[in-house]
């Protein structure tokens, strides 16, 4: 199987991807890999990005792990958002939320798919 056929998707039930603090983030993930992975990870995390930098500082909040999954599969997930930090678009840095689909490799986790979302009392970044 060619490398570019390794795919993953993350779909959120809420199409506008705007959430309030404490909301449930529900969706489904699917993957198609060359061989069976040891685990599949679905992670809810916020990321701090300095303006003008590509480097991202992640702050994982919750993670689901599926042990010994099939090479192709799909699953539903559900995370409860915390009350902070809010999504933030600042002058020096930004804070964004995302749900990631990852598979562990010997070089570290490989991200197969990611879907961003916003979380604040208005649903928009501060």
């Amino acid at each position: 199987m060619a490398r570019d056929e390794v795919v993953g998707t993350i779909e959120l039930i809420r199409p506008d991807r705007r959430y309030l603090p404490g909301d449930l983030v529900e969706g489904s993930a699917s993957w198609s890999l060359e061989k069976r992975p040891s685990r599949i990870l679905i992670r809810l995390a916020y990321r701090i990005t300095r303006i003008g930098e590509r480097r991202v500082r992640p702050g994982a909040v919750a993670e689901l792990a599926f042990v010994n999954p099939m090479a192709r599969g799909e699953c539903d997930f559900r995370f409860r958002l915390p009350y902070e930090p809010y999504s933030f678009d600042g002058e020096l840095f930004s804070i964004g939320w995302a749900v990631d689909l990852r598979v562990p490799t010997w070089r570290g986790d490989r991200r197969l798919a990611a879907t961003s979302l916003t979380m604040s009392p208005t649903g928009d970044p501060r």
Partner: protein
């Protein structure tokens, strides 16, 4: 018997200064810091600490007399983004103030104590501390001495929590 003393009033600690590793800059800043010790020294209290978005609060301040006297006094409530940065030799902090409310501004009349009121903007970003980046709220006290001397320039960090985190 314990009596209800009302909402807790919290004395705030000063924000620590960041110093460069350069010796010359370190000496200059140390001298400036020593001179500032002779200025009137501010103590600040905020009721209902920690604050929440949308909260109104009362700020009280007092000054311990120094060798210098102030010409003016300005007290503001500020929200700022802070990012730690480095150019290889020195570490420094980038600061961008995104919210500022003036609580008191005017000539310093010599009063040792004073108070004022402020409100945390409901649509603002709460305090946040991440790796190398943070949101910090503070009471900022500035004053100009009557003689050529380093200004009073002190930050007293205030914790601001999200509205739902009660």
């Amino acid at each position: 018997m314990r009596q209800d003393a009302g909402p807790p009033k919290v004395r705030l600690g000063s924000r620590g200064a960041l110093y460069s590793s350069s010796v010359a800059v370190w000496i200059a800043r140390s001298t400036r810091w020593l001179l500032r010790l002779l200025n009137p020294h501010a103590h600040v209290w905020v009721d209902n600490h920690p604050l929440h978005l949308g909260d109104s609060f009362v700020v009280e301040w007092s000054f311990r007399r120094g060798l210098t006297s102030l010409r003016d006094l300005r007290i503001t409530f500020e929200g700022a983004e802070l990012c730690a940065d480095s150019d290889g030799e020195d570490t420094f902090t980038d600061v961008y103030v995104f919210s500022m409310t003036v609580i008191h501004e005017g000539p310093f009349d010599g009063a040792v104590r004073g108070s004022g009121q402020g409100t945390v903007p409901r649509s603002a970003m709460p305090s946040f501390g991440g790796s190398g980046a943070r949101i910090e709220w503070a009471i900022h006290v500035t004053g100009t001495p009557r003689i050529p001397w380093p200004r009073v320039d002190d930050y007293f960090v205030v914790k601001v929590l999200p509205d739902g985190a009660r």
